[in-house]
């Protein structure tokens, strides 16, 4: 049985196909119904554990992350060495790459002129950057 749903007139923004067909004979066109591309859904793989943040500053410019960019930060991904992470340093949110040497972890900028930060008891890794969004005006 094909069930037709009632569509509110103001909701007519999706491609709509009304099919009338004898029961038992599925229309081949049914499978061609497509949703518009949803970049947000693609960018945020894990909505329940992901948070969007705005980048403020230039210390990650060489990693391709600019002032004013939006990043997607996941708390479901494990923070591994080599990942770009959001960390709380004395409670302040900081964006850096997680590195490791001499048996210690460090938060490292990717632009000249920013000191490395050692990961100690004042630092908490909050999440891992999994996406980047930017518009060009």
């Amino acid at each position: 049985m094909l069930r037709l749903s009632v569509v509110q007139p103001e909701a007519l923004e999706l491609p709509l196909l009304v099919i009338s067909t004898p029961a038992g004979f599925p229309s081949p066109a049914q499978d061609d119904m497509e949703e518009p591309i949803d970049l947000g859904a693609w960018l945020v793989e894990h909505p329940a554990a992901s948070y969007v943040m705005r980048v403020d500053g230039h210390s990650m410019a060489e990693a391709g992350i600019n002032d004013g960019d939006y990043i997607v930060v996941s708390r479901a991904k494990k923070p591994r060495v080599g990942k770009i992470v959001v960390a709380l340093v004395h409670g302040d949110r900081t964006l850096k790459r997680l590195r490791s040497w001499e048996g210690r972890h460090w938060l490292v900028a990717e632009a000249a002129g920013y000191p490395d930060i050692i990961v100690d008891e004042h630092v908490e890794i909050w999440g891992v950057v999994v996406g980047l969004a930017r518009r060009y005006g």
Partner: protein, 422 residues
Amino acid sequence: MSAPIALIDCNNYYVSCERAFDASLIGLPVIVLSNNDGCAIARSAEAKALGIKMGDPVHHLRDKIKRHGIRVLSSNYALYGDMQRRVVAAIQPFARDFEIYSIDETFVDFAGFEHLDLVAHAREMSAQVRQWTTIPTCVGIGLTKTLAKLGNAAAKKNPLFDSVADLRDENTCNWVLDRFPAGDVWGVGRATAGKLAALGVQTAGQLRDMPMKQARGIGTVVLERLIAELRGVPALAVETVEPQRKGLAVTRSFGTPVSDLDTLMGAVAQYAMRAGEKLRNHGLVAGRLTVFFHTNVHKPERPQYSASRTLSMQPMTCDSLELLSYARRGVERAWREGYGITKAGIILEDLMDEQLHPRTLFEDDDKKRTRLMTAMDAVNERFGKFTAVPAVQGFKREWSARSESRSPNYTTRLSEVPSVRA
């Protein structure tokens, strides 16, 4: 043998949500104010330690706030609602079914998980919530909702439990029940508590051991059900329990999935009417309404959608037509075509005694409306549920709650997301 049930409850939920995005609040006394910034409705552990009580009017707290540097925030329901979605999503893989009881409490059905060490399982669930949302939780496990609730209270109060209490263990159960005041058991009203005290029933343990006959003599059928629940025999639909300040919920699963907006609206309208009736029965008004609906999470092969919208209600109301109008707006905003919805519900929060709630400048004289509601309740009582129902939805409110120190909508508005220093 009935299946184990757990209640997972977020610690100081509103404060925990705020702290997730503002680390400067961690370790300080923090309170969150009700709609209208009237009184304290959430307190951090540090604020509780300073003797601040639930519902304390903020103008009584001025001195304390100054003296102790208490951080005072307006409530940010958009944030709390969005974080709840995340909490529930983190809980889902750990349960066969779940039932949202209030914004920070969810009952979890552990049927099918009995072969596991459920304490460890509950800890994992709690850790998952904390990992995804930063929010700390406590879990109580029992054979009935009442026992799960008691277990949760024990886990919260006593650090020995390390945030998970399993009342399926007889010794633990006795230990907890013997220390829990009978009057504080979920669903025991003040009048009943008085009668129990007169009979020497002081603790939940004594209440459990009370002869049913005696219970019938002093209480309603609710008291009998409670005693059964304390004995580990499930008897309580969540609905039969009195609403508390935390809030009340009306939720249902659908027999067959609902895929059109009209049918869903019809169901939600019923819940709104029922919720309004419950509020009026208890002389309460509500400041906030959440409407939610979702597909069957246990059929991952089907398209999944889960939505919830929280609306502040200004002025606070117990008017079913008002509740309905808010609920409809929530559903309209959240609706997406193409999904089979299997569960929906309404949660009312920020409850207050009808006589005490703050009035707004624009509040109409609602005597006529009150008479209409009374008449509607009478008709429904006499001729069955939902005989008298509204034919149209109410009107729109254009003003919003007063909220002078509300935090940003960190998770729901792009212009207000947290910034990170690079």
